[in-house]
Symmetry: C2
Subunit: 188 residues, 2 copies
């Protein structure tokens, strides 16, 4: 019904809205944190997943995630995924398939997140420092079975990485659930 | 190094911080969206998962999730989980186990999210309207196998629900992967 910016900075924009819900109820102060759409890439190279380990200041901790970032204006999600994969890992992908699409924070943010599965990887360039000031990223390669074990027991595993692995198995590896159930056994 | 509020309202608080990263690099304008810790509850009653369907204004869509919400000041996460389960479904749980803990949005928010597995459910009260103005919640019961199929193919499935199901199978149902792989077959 009404909308105005409560905060409008380069890195964050917050809108305050007056909203009429489907039931007819009126909310006077609903805040929406604006955000571009997001992408993330589950890239598998010779049985290993390419991961990024980085310090996240908001939680003052180091976390493990798949590569990803924001979709730029006029960029398609799949092109953003290719760009982020290259920037963060130095790899290009011969095949990119949509794996999942969801709202990462539907209670507060309008963004949609797209997860792609990247395969047929080629090392395109040595990994160089990201241009994004806030990102200091370390590349980590983990075999799928070790990664699953880490998800089961580890700390600081990002939800996007977990979701990517769930959808990988739901959509691609239906016949190989034993790996998920007993990751260490299959490593022997 | 420095911290000040850029936005300080009842429903949303945003801090602007000057930050020194582990590498020594200084960021002058890192924004943190403040938030309480969050809880969500995977509640299973007679083979069915208790779900909430609600309109989410930020994405202007209806989504399916497990019950959950914020941890109040001085409340423990497990008590918040019990309270949210009761408020949103009318059920109490004889057993509550920690299923997962993660940072839902480590790039921007300091919150931690706790997912609990609730079982031995008892209907405590008829579901009544939530006191939270922004929530208009419809309770949905789905058998586990139908839910997995919905996650595979559905729209508007919240990531918290997907993560809860992943950790349920990783931690509890290791021997029953066939259900995940072929949800509809096991429904016959």
């Amino acid at each position: 019904l009404e909308s105005q910016y409560s905060l409008n900075e380069k890195w964050i924009k917050v809108r305050k809205e007056k909203v009429k819900l489907p039931s007819g109820k009126i909310l006077n102060d609903f805040y929406v944190v604006e955000g571009n759409d997001l992408v993330a890439v589950l890239a598998i190279d010779k049985g290993c997943v390419l991961l990024v380990r980085q310090y996240r200041h908001a939680v003052k901790d180091v976390t493990l995630d798949i590569p990803g970032g924001g979709v730029n204006p006029k960029e398609t999600p799949i092109n953003a995924a290719r760009r982020e994969l290259l920037e963060e890992t130095g790899f290009t992908a011969g095949s990119m398939e949509k794996l999942a699409i969801y709202y990462p924070d539907s209670g507060r943010t309008e963004s949609t997140k797209h997860i792609y599965l990247a395969s047929q990887l080629t090392r395109y360039q040595p990994l160089c420092a990201s241009e994004d000031d806030a990102e200091e990223v370390e590349l980590v390669r983990l075999p799928i079975n070790k990664l699953i074990n880490k998800i089961k027991t580890g700390h600081g595993i990002e939800p996007t990485l977990c979701l990517a692995m769930l959808f990988l198995f739901l959509k691609k590896y239906n016949s190989d659930w034993e790996l998920f159930a007993n990751p260490l056994k299959s490593n022997q």
